[in-house]
Structure formats: structure tokens, C-alpha cells
């Protein structure tokens, strides 16, 4: 609260302004500037002498500040005294290199703009330096500005040039909330080396993104770059924040995911009473008594609320320890001003948590300065009441001292200030230079284009995992496909502040084959609820259960449009099953089945023999009569069928299987209060004479709103009853099928849970193995084809064309000659080949003849071995000769064809075709 002490005199801003302007205007006159510089330096010299002392004092002064924070009722005198003392405290920019340097950063590979300054930047640095000196001179009671920290190459860079407005190529990053969420997810926060000072360095966003690590200034610079790129009027803010804010401590914040959206109580618009609206019957109760009662109840309620609140507050206070450095912790965040991108109201974004706060929020305790890519503004307003009274009108030089003149911000008139300026003697030059001054704007950003690869964008958090601790809640996030069960987010809610007793767990999934989206586990009641996206094989929408065992309490909801039977919901308890339908052609909307107690003996028998005892439970009566007992009562309800008269349209039918009784209730007629009813009693035993009773009047009891003749007929009743008997069978069968389906779903769910297969979009070329393989195969084929084509295109004309002067057009004579040459050459080659084969053939024959001669001569003297040798040679030679003969014949056959083919080809050659046409 005290860091930006109240400075009442506003005039100094003008001083700074004019001095700055003077400075710009007289850049050529370096002499004077030197003088000015010297003057400032002298002051600094004097200060530096006391540096050690100051540090000591600063520490001492911390205590009074604390005192003041707690005790705000101080006398004026004490305040002034304190102010004076405080004004002596001045923390200069630390000269020593920051303790937090990344040795890993390879500065040599960074581009030139990172390693040096352009002349324009140098110029800007000088301006900034001057500004800072004047500022510290004029406002000695304020901490130095955060103007030109060094970058990763230890080159000082002006903060505004570190901002590089970039619009990201992802549509998700077009809005501020998603941008902020991305920054907060993507980078992991590192605390400031000194929580009470801004860092001495500010790395480029590209480096920060590369290492996915940064302090609050890195965060806000990156976020600001992205927001400016997306068209927001965003600013980086250097100021003071609460401890929670600076340490990214959300343990005292309620998790946004746990906050239920406030139900909008929609006031039903009361239609104005119509002309003929009937008057309500007279109310005879006492109004006074009623009012008294209401008052009393309200009082009780208020009391209770108060008590509750008090208890809560006490608990909170206990947990929240007071921060000794309150109001001194340096933080950086982003300010978004209203006006652009339809932002209705200015707000802050904390880049660590990606949460937006109103500019009046308690977490933000003061602002020193703010900047964007164009300019730098120093706050000249008093921050005694945190940021609540600040006015963000950056065009107002009284409230916001700017570094560079800008054209797009509204400015106050200059003439008056000039008169009050310090350098009266240079008025004329000032006026002359003004236009030029305005044109001096911020140099381009030295930071390279900010790029985020799709992989990094998808992975988001460093290593794809992030954990955030909230008040009574813990939020864990994972990148998609990181967990093999598709888990992307888990929210654990605790009962107590120490986070020991788990209340409930919510798990979000993505890309699951079974379309599971959210799993909600309530640890207190043991209730699990699974929510599914459309597309589950059984059209499941939600499934809430306590255990996966069948015949337990469970509710299954379905996407009714995806089901043939239009089932919406099926509720089960150990003894009942209720189904809700919608959009069925038979207009069934509800079916409720009561099961009787399971017969012990039966279940024992069947449980072992049959893996699904439930199936037996309501198997049809024909299969086993004793099982019928299990299914006791089936209630079915139907919607009104407008095609039928109300007296014939059944609204509800109840099959009481134990009593063999069927109850029907019909729909109510439009202008009636009562509905018809009918009850059928099923009697199977014969009458006294042993005859089978078909139908007697007492088997059908009915109440009819409007008695009709034909319904009294026994025949009608008999037919109705027969129909109902059939329907009963059907209903029982359907109940049985439903039970089967439940088992099936449970089995399926278990399998799905065990396997958890993830789906991969066909557009995801990296993950989709099939498409990857296919693509690679395609590429390989393309390559092969290319090679093959290159081979096929062996140019037979090339050697002859090479003889001709290149680049010239062929004449007809040349073309003809070319063709003839080519053909004759080919002919020659064919002949050569034939000759070669002939020569070999002859040689082989001669050899054979020689051998034969030799054999003839020495036949008598030969050993059997030699003879064998000779014979094998003969056979081999004969084989060779035969092959050569064949080849020769084949060549003779093919040679003319080949010749003709070449001739044909030559005639069709694009280079010759024009010229040879005449001769064809």
C-alpha cells in the first residue's frame, strides 16, 4: 500500500514531460545532454555512497510499513515523518548479474537481433535512460522503472520492443480467456529472484516458449504479445500483487469448476389480467397474521445465515496468515482496456492463473508502470487504495506519464506546458522540432516470430501434466493421449481445508472409443455417474450406479433418438425397474416392474447353473410356473393418442400378476374430471358344475364416465381381456428383455473399462497409424513410379541431337538426317548383335568339332574317365549351341520388328513429328 506513496504535487509530470521533450529536441546538442547526464550522475554518485546504508535502512523501514498497514489510523504528523523517511529509501537497479540465469541457453544460435542493438534501439535506450534519470530525479521517493532489462544475450533491450504482437494460427487462441489459459498451462511459473524487485533481465518470448518456463514478467510479455496480435488493447503491467497472486497460490480461491452456474431465476412475465378474467374466490385468512408469520420466518433465516457466515469467516481468517511483505511483492500482469474487440470494461488478467479480475480487485495492490509494443507509461496516481481508484485513461498526462510521444493517444494542449518548461531559451527550436519528435516511434521488436508447433499446442503443459491446488479442491490436467485411458482432467473436491477427506472426484476423458466423457465419483454416497457423448454402442447418455453388480440401484439414461424403442431412462432398484420412453408409435411413456422377493431355493439352483439368474427370474410362465412369482406387477402408462376417443385410450394399465388382475385407467376427457376405469379379474377355475367359465359379468368391473351400451357386452369384455392377456405376456417379455439388456450393458461397460481403447481422428495424420501407413505407402509408390518413368524416358535421340548445335531449331533436312542416322545406327547395332551371336555360335561349333575329331582319333586309348569327361562336354556344348541357335533365330525374327517399332517411334517423336510429317 505504501510503495507508491502519495505525491501530491502534480506539476512534476509536466517537468518530466518538458525535459524529455527538450532532450529529444536537442539530441544534436550532445553537450547539454552531457551536462544533464552529469548532473543526474552526480546525484546518483551521492546516492551510491550511501548504498550500503540504504539497504540497511530499507530493511528497517519495512517494519514501520507493516505497522502502518495494520494500523491505518495514524496521525498526519507521523505520516509525514514516515513519508520523509521513505523518500530516502531508494532501491537502485542491482548491478550484479541475476542469480537466475539459464546456463542452458545457447546464445550463439540466436539471431543477430538478439545479440546486438540497432542504432534505432540504441537511440531508444538513450531516451529511456534519460527518462529514467529524470524520473528518479523528480520522483526520488519512487522505485526505479523497469525499462531496459537485459535479454538472454545480456544485451539491454527496451521492454516495449520485447513485445512481439502475434496472432496465433489456432482459432482456439483468438479470445483472451483461451489465450490466457494457454499461457498459464504452457509455461511453468518460476518465482522472481527477489520478490521485492523486478528482475534485471527479460528474455524473449521465443526462448521462454522453448524452455516452457518463466517468471511473471515472461508470462505477461508472452500473453500481451498474443493478445495484441488478436486485436486486444492489452498492456503489460509492472506493479504489486498479493502473496497469493505472486506465488500462484490458489489454495484460497474456489475452483471455478466447482462453482455451479447460478440458476437464472426467470421471472415469469405475468400477462396483464384480461378483461374477462374471473375474480379469484375471496381469501378469508387474515393478512396481518400472514405478514407476521413471514416476518418471523425471515428473522430466523437471517439469524441462521449470519451465524453460518461468521463461522466461515473465522475459519478463513485462521487459515490465512498475514503476509509481512504485503504490498511490496512485485508482480506483473496484463491489463486489457475496453474499446477493442468489444471488450465492455477494462480488466486485469493474471497470467499465472489465467483468471480475469476486475480492476478493483483486492489482489492488485499498485501499479508502477505499464507498456505495450508502442509506448511506456508511468503511473502518476496514488495507489493508497490499491488499484481501486486508478483511472486508465492513458491519454491523460497528469495521471500517466508517457515515454514517447504518440499520435494515436489523445493529448492535452502543449502550449501552456511549454511556458512552464525548464528550458525556456530553446523555445523556438522546440517548436520547430515538434513534428519530427512525434515521428519518433518505437523500433520494431527484436524478438523473432513467436511460433507454437501443433504438437506443443496440443501437449500444452510442460510434459503434458499440470496440477493446481484450489481451496478444497485439486485440479489435475493432462494432454490428450498422454494417459492411455483418455483421462485429460481430474478434479478432486475435499471436505476440509487441509484436503484430507475426499468429497468427490470428477474425471474428464477425451477420445474414448466408448464415448465416455465425464466420470463423477461421489465418495460420500459411493455414487458413480458416467456421462457419455452421443455414439455409445448402446446409446448410453449417463449411467449412475453404486456398484457394477446387477440388480442394484442404478439409473441409465439414453439418447432416445438413437434407440429404436425410444427409451430415455431406466431406473433400477433391487425390487423394481422403471423405464421412461419417448416418441414411440404405441405412445408408451412409462413402464414400472415390481419384482417379488427372490425364492431362495430357486436362486441357489440357478445361480450356479445359470450365469444370469435374473433371466430366469422373469422367464415366461410356460417355461417354469414357479418363476412367475418373481415378477409381481407391471405398470404401463401411455400418452394420449389424439386419434382415439378418450374413453378408449388407455392411460395406464396395471398387470397384477399375482392376483391375475388387470387394471385399466383411461385418459380423462377434455372437459371432465374423472376418467373411466376397468378392472379384469382372471378366473381359471371352473364353476360348480365343472364347466369352464368363459366370462361372467363380475370378471370385469368398470366405471365409465359416460356409460355406453356396447361395452357392457360380455363379448366385448371377453375380447378386451384376451387382448390384454396377450399384452401382458408381451410386457413381461419386454421386462425380461430389458433386464437382459442391463446385463449386456454392464458387461460391455466392464469390457470397455478394462480395454479403454482410444479413437484417433482420421484427420490426425500423426497418430492415425493406418493413415500414416497408407500415406507412406503412397509416397513410396510415387517415388518408384517416378524412377520407373525416368528410366522409360531414355532418350534414343539424345546422342544424335548432341552432335547438333544446342538451342537451335531443327531444319527438315536435319530432322531427316537425324532419323536416318538413328535408324542406321540401330540397324548397325542389330547387325552387330546378330554377328556376335553368330560368331559365338561358330566358335562353339568349331570347338565341338575339334573335340569330336580328337575323340575320333584317340577313341581307343581313352580311359573311361576321359570318355565320361568328353561326353559331358559334348552334351554341354550341344546345349550351348542349341541356345545360341535359338537366340539367333529369335533375333532374326525380332530385329525387323524392333527396327519398325523404332521407326514408328521416331515418326511420332514430338521433336521430329512436325518435320517428318511430309514424308509419311
Amino acid at each position: 500500500m505504501l510503495v507508491a506513496p502519495s505525491w501530491s504535487e502534480v506539476g512534476h509530470s509536466e517537468c518530466i514531460y518538458s525535459s524529455y521533450r527538450d532532450l529529444i529536441s536537442r539530441q544534436s546538442e550532445t553537450q547539454q545532454m552531457e551536462v544533464l547526464k552529469e548532473k543526474v550522475e552526480e546525484e546518483e554518485e551521492a546516492e551510491r555512497a550511501e548504498q550500503a546504508e540504504r539497504a540497511e535502512r530499507a530493511k528497517k523501514m519495512m517494519r514501520p510499513m507493516e505497522v502502518r498497514k495494520e494500523d491505518t489510523t495514524r496521525t498526519q504528523e507521523m505520516l509525514r515523518d514516515l513519508e520523509r523517511k521513505l523518500s530516502e529509501i531508494e532501491v537502485s537497479i542491482p548491478e550484479k548479474p541475476s542469480t537466475f540465469t539459464k546456463d542452458a541457453i545457447d546464445t550463439s544460435k540466436l539471431p543477430l537481433s538478439y545479440q546486438s542493438n540497432t542504432p534505432k534501439e540504441e537511440h531508444l535506450l538513450q531516451v529511456a535512460d534519460n527518462f529514467s534519470r529524470q524520473y528518479s530525479h523528480l520522483c526520488p521517493d519512487r522505485v526505479p522503472l523497469f525499462l531496459y532489462p537485459v535479454n538472454e544475450c545480456s544485451v539491454p533491450k527496451f521492454v516495449s520492443t520485447t513485445i512481439r504482437p502475434t496472432l496465433m494460427p489456432y482459432p482456439e487462441l483468438y479470445n483472451w480467456d483461451t489465450c490466457a489459459q494457454f499461457v498459464s498451462d504452457f509455461l511453468s511459473a518460476v518465482p522472481l529472484p527477489d520478490p521485492l524487485k523486478p528482475p534485471s533481465y527479460l528474455y524473449s518470448s521465443t526462448t521462454v516458449l522453448k524452455y516452457q518456463e518463466g517468471n511473471c514478467f515472461d508470462f505477461s510479455t508472452l500473453l500481451c504479445s498474443m493478445l495484441l496480435g488478436a486485436g486486444y488493447d492489452a498492456y503489460c503491467v509492472y506493479g504489486y500483487g498479493s502473496q497469493d497472486l505472486c506465488h500462484m497460490d490458489l489454495t484460497r480461491e474456489v475452483c471455478p469448476l466447482t462453482v455451479k452456474p447460478k440458476e437464472m431465476v426467470k421471472e415469469e412475465e405475468k400477462a396483464p389480467p384480461k378483461k374477462y378474467a374471473v375474480k379469484p374466490p375471496r381469501d378469508l385468512t387474515s393478512r396481518f397474521e400472514r405478514e407476521q408469520e413471514i416476518k418471523r420466518q425471515e428473522g430466523v433465516k437471517a439469524e441462521e445465515e449470519k451465524r453460518l457466515k461468521q463461522g466461515e469467516r473465522l475459519a478463513e481468517q485462521e487459515s490465512a496468515k498475514t503476509d509481512p511483505l504485503h504490498g511490496l511483492r512485485v508482480h506483473s500482469w496484463v491489463l486489457v482496456l475496453s474499446g477493442k474487440r468489444e471488450v465492455p470494461e477494462s480488466f486485469f488478467i493474471d497470467p499465472f492463473t489465467a483468471r480475469s479480475y476486475s480492476t478493483q480487485d483486492d489482489h492488485f495492490l499498485g501499479i508502477e508502470s505499464l507498456w505495450n509494443h508502442k509506448n511506456y507509461w508511468v503511473n502518476m496516481q496514488d495507489c493508497w487504495n490499491c488499484c481501486k481508484d486508478l483511472v486508465f485513461d492513458l491519454g491523460d498526462p497528469v495521471r500517466w506519464e508517457y515515454l514517447l510521444l504518440e499520435t494515436d493517444k489523445p493529448l492535452l494542449s502543449l502550449t501552456e506546458e511549454e511556458d512552464d518548461g525548464m528550458n525556456d531559451d530553446d523555445d523556438v527550436e522546440n517548436l520547430g522540432k515538434e513534428d519530427e519528435d512525434k515521428s519518433f516511434d518505437m523500433p520494431c521488436s527484436w524478438v523473432e516470430q513467436i511460433e507454437i508447433s501443433p504438437e506443443a499446442f496440443e501437449t500444452r503443459c510442460p510434459n503434458g501434466k499440470k496440477v493446481i491446488q484450489y481451496k478444497r479442491a485439486r485440479l489435475e490436467k493432462w494432454a490428450p493421449y498422454l494417459n492411455n485411458n483418455g483421462l485429460v482432467c481430474r478434479l478432486t473436491t475435499y471436505e476440509d481445508l487441509q484436503c484430507t477427506k475426499i468429497l468427490e472426484i470428477k474425471e474428464w476423458f477425451q477420445n474414448r472409443k466408448d464415448m465416455l466423457e465425464l466420470k463423477h465419483i461421489n465418495k460420500v454416497t459411493g455414487l458413480n455417474i458416467d456421462y457419455f457423448k452421443p455414439g455409445h454402442p448402446q446409446a448410453l447418455r449417463a449411467h449412475s450406479y453404486t456398484s457394477m453388480q446387477p440388480e442394484m440401484d442404478r439409473v441409465m439414461e439414453f439418447y432416445e433418438t438413437a434407440r429404436v424403442d425410444g427409451l430415455i431412462k431406466r431406473e433400477e432398484t433391487p425390487r423394481t425397474m422403471t423405464e421412461y420412453y419417448q416418441g414411440r408409435p404405441d405412445l408408451l411413456s412409462y413402464r414400472h416392474v415390481n419384482f417379488g422377493p427372490r425364492i431362495k431355493k430357486l436362486s441357489l439352483n440357478s445361480a450356479e447353473s445359470n450365469p444370469r439368474p435374473v433371466v430366469l427370474r422373469h422367464s415366461l410362465p410356460t417355461s417354469h410356473p414357479t418363476h412367475v412369482l418373481a415378477c409381481q406387477k407391471i405398470t404401463e402408462r401411455f400418452s394420449r393418442n389424439p386419434a382415439k376417443p378418450a374413453d378408449e385410450d388407455v392411460a395406464e394399465r396395471v398387470f397384477l400378476l399375482l392376483d391375475e388382475r388387470i387394471q385399466l385407467r383411461y385418459h380423462c376427457r377434455e372437459d371432465h374430471l374423472t376418467a373411466s376405469k376397468r378392472e379384469f379379474l382372471w378366473r381359471t377355475e371352473g364353476d360348480s358344475k365343472g364347466n369352464k367359465i368363459i366370462m361372467t359379468p363380475d370378471m370385469c368391473l368398470s366405471f365409465e364416465v359416460e356409460p355406453m351400451e356396447h361395452t357392457k357386452k360380455l363379448l366385448y369384455q371377453y375380447e378386451a381381456m384376451m387382448k390384454l392377456k396377450n399384452e401382458e405376456k408381451l410386457a413381461r417379455h419386454q421386462a425380461w428383455e430389458s433386464e437382459l439388456e442391463v446385463l449386456e450393458i454392464l458387461k460391455l461397460r466392464e469390457e470397455e473399462e478394462a480395454a479403454h481403447v482410444l479413437t484417433i481422428s482420421i484427420y490426425d495424420t500423426k497418430r492415425n497409424e493406418k493413415s500414416k501407413e497408407y500415406r507412406e505407402a503412397m509416397e513410396r509408390m510415387m517415388l518408384e513410379e517416378h524412377l520407373w518413368q525416368a528410366e522409360a524416358q531414355l532418350d534414343y535421340l539424345a546422342p544424335f541431337l548432341a552432335q547438333l548445335p544446342p538451342g537451335e531449331k531443327l531444319t527438315r533436312w536435319q530432322a531427316v538426317r537425324l532419323k536416318d542416322e538413328c535408324l542406321s545406327d540401330f540397324k548397325q547395332r542389330l547387325i552387330d548383335k546378330a554377328n556376335l551371336i553368330q560368331a559365338r555360335f561358330e566358335k562353339e561349333t568349331q570347338e565341338l568339332q575339334k573335340q569330336q575329331q580328337w575323340y575320333q582319333e584317340n577313341q581307343v586309348t581313352l580311359t573311361p574317365e576321359d570318355e565320361d569327361l568328353y561326353l559331358s562336354y559334348c552334351s554341354q556344348a550341344m546345349f550351348r549351341i542349341r541356345i545360341l541357335e535359338q537366340r539367333l533365330n529369335r533375333h532374326k525374327e525380332l530385329a525387323p520388328l524392333k527396327y519398325l517399332a523404332l521407326e514408328e517411334k521416331l515418326y511420332k517423336d514430338p521433336r521430329l513429328v512436325e518435320l517428318l510429317k511430309v514424308f509419311v
Partner: protein, 522 residues
């Protein structure tokens, strides 16, 4: 077709019908029941009377709900006695001796009609059968193609059989039918394929288009007539019909011989014209005012009806809720009473439940009484308002009519003046123009001409008065009728509700009593 002629015809008497009904009725157990109870003819849905040698269709008037009737293979000569069978969907009269189609005008639900193998030579008298889908007319004596055009009016007709008729021997028989009945799917038990359709279209396009054009013209004319008629009805509902033009004025002169004769006088023509213009303007004013008032009355009535409906609905919901609540309790109590073994407890419970029933009656009756009171008040208010509205309307119309009368009086004076001056001219012999003899005859003497003008005036005034009286009486009778109807409806509603409540309570009470009774028996 002369078969069976040697057989003696039979009469469709009760016996025959009963036998048929009994034979074709339900079987097995249901049949036993049916026999026990007897089947009423009006409950029969389907009846088969084939090969019965019936000559004359008779005695079928009791089968009100009959859906399907088979009278094939008889010797029927005339279609008759089917007037009461309005629910009939399926009628089979094949293999009979029918010569003309008739007596089917009331069978509006008929979808399937078979007249196969008869002696019909002309297709007509089927206009009432708008739902006709299947028509079988094979083996008849239809010889003229124009009969087919008659079938164009049946929009749902999909199946037609005409084979065995002289017409089917024509060369372009199939294409002709396909062209003129494009919605037909089956002809003579064969599906019409697309090729055939194309062929037919090509062949007969010209004539079919012409026919279509004529039909559309007729249709347009019909629609126009309908629209005009509706407009007039609207005007009539506003009681200002024929006031949006010179109709009233023309009617004034229609029966006025003297008036038209007098219009030949010099200067009278213009006078009548200006008079007419003014008169028509006033008429138009009446008309506009009347239409506006009609709208107002309608809006008033609508809001009233809406409010009444709302009030009734609300009470009905309350009543339903009460009954549902009671029903729940009722069932529980009944079962508990049934299980009760001790007599004293039983009696206590019985008494308790009787009290419950009485309470229900009280609640329902209170609701109903409240509603009656509320509605009475509302209805009275509405009555007052509607009387005011009608009164205002009548008053205004009367004042406008008075203007008409003034105009007429004014006109009369002018006319008289002209007539007298003309008479003087005639007497003096100064009249230049030639007048028809009839007109000249009026100027015989002064009295005659004055009388003539007076008579014309009287006729005009009478017409205006008549129109005014008609309007006033009609609007008043409408009002009286409306109010009466509202009162009556309300009374009827109240009675119905009372009856319903009583009936329900009786039923509940009887349920309780039956328990008592059965218990006592045990």
C-alpha cells in the same frame, strides 16, 4: 349373365342375415359368449352374403357400422338399400345383373368397389366416393372412352380394371387410360410400367393438356366463386352486406318506374348522378364502420371465451388433483377394510371412509359453485359490454341512415322543382327536347307529376327504412342469440359436471357398499 335365372330368387330376410352373422361371428369361446348374448346387427363390421340368389338388397339398415359387405354372385339387378351403411369401406357387387351405377351417394368412406361382371354401360353416379382407391368394372358393357375421363376426379384411385368391356378392345385403350389417369398404378391387374407411361404421355399429350387447362380454369372459377361467397358471408356477419357499393341505391331505383322516367327530364340526370355519388359515400361509411365494429365484437368475444376457458381449465385441474388424491386414499382404505377382520374396526373404517367421500363431494361441489359464481359474473359483464357495443353500432348506423334520408329529401325537393318548372315549360310550349310519350303523359297536369315524384320518393324512403330495419333486427337477434347461447352452454356445462361428480361419487360409494355386503355375506 343369364346364369341362375332358372333358380328361384331368395329374399334377404332377418333369418338369412342372422344365420350369416352367426356363421361369420366370433369362434370358440367368444362364439359361445356371442351365442349366449346374441349379436346386434349394428355391432357387425363385416358381412358376407355370396351365392345366396339374392335379387333385391334389403333389410340392411340395421348394420350401421358395417365396414365390409360382400354381395357377389347373386342376381341383384339394382343397387339399393345401402343408404344407411355410411361406414362401408369395402363393397363387392361383382357377378350380378346390375345395369346402372346408382344408390351409392351416401357411401362417402368407400375405398374399394367391385362391380365386376355386370351389365353396366356407363360410369357415373360415383361423385360421392371421394376416397375411392380400387375400382373394378371388368366384364361390363362400357363402350365409350369418355367414361374414363369421368374417373379423373378420384384423386386416390390407384387400381382400375376395365378388361372385358367393349372399350378395352380399342387400339389405344391402355395408353389412353394411362394418359388420362396418370396416378393409376395398376390397370387390369397389371402394374403400369414407366415405359407405358411415357408412351401414353407422348401419344395423348395434346388432348390431355387441353383437358387439364379446362379443368384448371374450372377450378379457378370455382375458387373465385368460393372466395366471393366467403367475402359476402363475412359482410353478412357484420350486417353490412351490399353496402360497399351502389347496390342499395340501385335497388332504390329498381322498382321505381316514375323515378327512371323522370330522369329523362333535363337536368335530372346530373342531379341523380351527384345524389348517387353522395349516397354511395355514406353507404361506404356504414360499411366500413360495420366491418370495424364486427372486428371489435369478435375480439371481445374471443377474449371472453378465452377467459372462461381458462377459468374452467383451472378449476378442472384442481378438481382432477382432488380426485387423484382421493383415489389414492380410496384404494388404500379399500384394501385395508378388506383385510379387516374385527367388526368394530371394520365399521369405524367404513364410517371414516364414508366421511371421506362426503368430504370429496363437498370439495368438488365447492369448486363447482365457485366456478359458477365466477362465470356468472363474467358472463353478465360480457353481456353488458356486448349490448353496449351493439347499441353503439345501431346508433351510428341509424345516424348515417338519417343522412341518407336527408339526401333523399333534398333530392326530392330538387326533383320536384325541376318537374314543376318542366311542366310550366311544357305548358308554355317552350320545351326544346323530345320526351318519351310515357314521360310526357306524366305532365298531363300538375297533380300527376307531383304524385309521380312523391311516389318515387316514397319508394326510396321505404327502401332505406327497410335496409335499416333489417340491419337493426339482425344485429339485435344475433346479440340475443349469442347471449342466450352462452347462458345455455354454461348451464349445460354445470349440469354435466354435476352429473359427472354424482356419478363418480355413486360409483365410489357403491364400491364401498359392495365390500360391506360381501363382508356380511361371509
Amino acid at each position: 349373365m343369364n346364369r341362375l335365372c332358372d333358380v328361384e330368387p331368395r329374399v334377404m330376410d332377418d333369418e338369412m342375415l342372422k344365420l350369416a352373422v352367426g356363421e361369420q361371428g366370433p369362434r370358440d369361446e367368444a362364439g359361445q359368449l356371442a351365442k349366449q348374448e346374441g349379436i346386434l346387427f349394428k355391432d357387425v363390421l363385416s358381412l358376407q352374403l355370396d351365392f345366396q340368389n339374392i335379387l333385391r338388397i334389403d333389410n340392411l339398415w340395421q348394420f350401421e357400422n358395417l365396414r365390409k359387405l360382400q354381395l357377389d354372385n347373386n342376381i341383384i339387378e339394382k343397387i339399393e338399400g345401402l343408404e344407411n351403411l355410411t361406414h362401408l369401406v369395402w363393397l363387392d357387387l361383382s357377378f350380378n345383373n346390375i345395369e346402372a351405377i346408382e344408390g351409392l351417394d351416401t357411401l362417402v368412406n368407400l375405398e374399394d368397389l367391385s362391380l365386376f361382371n355386370n351389365r353396366i354401360s356407363k360410369i357415373d353416379s360415383l361423385d360421392a366416393l371421394v376416397k375411392l382407391q380400387v375400382l373394378s368394372l371388368g366384364n361390363n358393357q362400357i363402350g365409350n372412352m369418355t367414361n374414363i375421363i369421368y374417373l379423373r376426379r378420384f384423386k386416390d384411385l390407384r387400381t382400375l380394371s376395365l378388361s372385358g368391356n367393349p372399350v378395352a378392345e380399342a387400339e389405344d385403350y391402355r395408353t389412353f387410360i394411362c394418359a388420362y389417369l396418370p396416378d393409376l398404378v395398376y390397370l387390369d391387374f397389371q402394374r403400369i410400367d414407366d415405359h407405358m407411361k411415357e408412351l401414353a404421355e407422348m401419344k395423348h399429350q395434346c388432348s390431355v393438356d387441353e383437358l387439364k387447362h379446362q379443368e384448371s380454369l374450372m377450378q379457378a372459377q370455382l375458387e373465385e366463386e368460393q372466395a366471393r361467397w366467403e367475402e359476402l358471408e363475412g359482410h353478412k356477419a357484420a350486417f353490412v352486406e351490399h353496402l360497399n357499393g351502389p347496390f342499395l341505391f340501385d335497388s332504390m331505383y329498381a322498382e321505381d318506374v316514375e323515378g327512371s322516367q323522370l330522369s329523362h327530364l333535363p337536368g335530372v340526370g346530373e342531379l341523380v348522378q351527384t345524389y348517387k355519388d353522395k349516397f354511395v359515400i355514406i353507404c361506404l361509411n356504414i360499411f366500413k364502420f360495420g366491418m370495424k365494429q364486427q372486428e371489435k365484437r369478435k375480439a371481445e368475444l374471443d377474449t371472453f371465451m378465452g377467459c372462461v376457458q381458462e377459468a374452467i381449465q383451472e378449476k378442472q385441474e384442481q378438481g382432477k388433483h382432488e380426485i387423484a388424491k382421493f383415489e389414492e386414499k380410496h384404494l388404500l382404505t379399500l384394501s385395508s377394510i378388506r383385510d379387516e377382520s374385527e367388526l368394530t374396526n371394520f365399521e369405524i373404517k367404513m364410517a371414516e371412509h364414508s366421511e371421506n367421500i362426503t368430504e370429496l363431494v363437498n370439495v368438488l361441489m365447492t369448486l363447482e359453485m365457485q366456478l359458477v359464481e365466477q362465470l356468472e359474473e363474467t358472463i353478465n359483464m360480457f353481456e353488458r359490454n356486448i349490448i353496449d357495443l351493439v347499441g353503439l353500432f345501431v346508433e351510428n348506423v341509424q345516424s348515417l341512415m338519417a343522412q341518407c334520408r336527408d339526401l333523399e329529401n333534398h333530392h326530392h325537393e330538387k326533383l320536384l322543382e325541376i318537374a314543376i318548372s318542366t311542366r310550366e315549360k311544357i305548358v308554355k310550349g317552350e320545351l326544346d327536347e323530345d320526351l318519351p310519350d310515357a314521360v310526357r303523359a306524366l305532365f298531363v297536369d300538375k297533380d300527376t307529376i307531383v304524385n309521380a315524384v312523391g311516389a318515387s320518393h316514397d319508394i326510396h324512403l321505404l327502401k332505406i327504412d327497410n335496409r335499416e330495419d333489417e340491419l337493426v333486427t339482425r344485429v339485435n337477434s344475433w346479440r340475443a342469440h349469442l347471449v342466450d347461447k352462452i347462458h345455455k352452454d354454461e348451464i349445460m356445462r354445470n349440469r354435466r359436471r354435476m352429473k359427472e361428480i354424482n356419478q363418480y361419487v355413486d360409483h365410489v360409494q357403491s364400491e364401498l357398499d359392495s365390500l360391506e355386503y360381501s363382508d356380511l355375506l361371509d
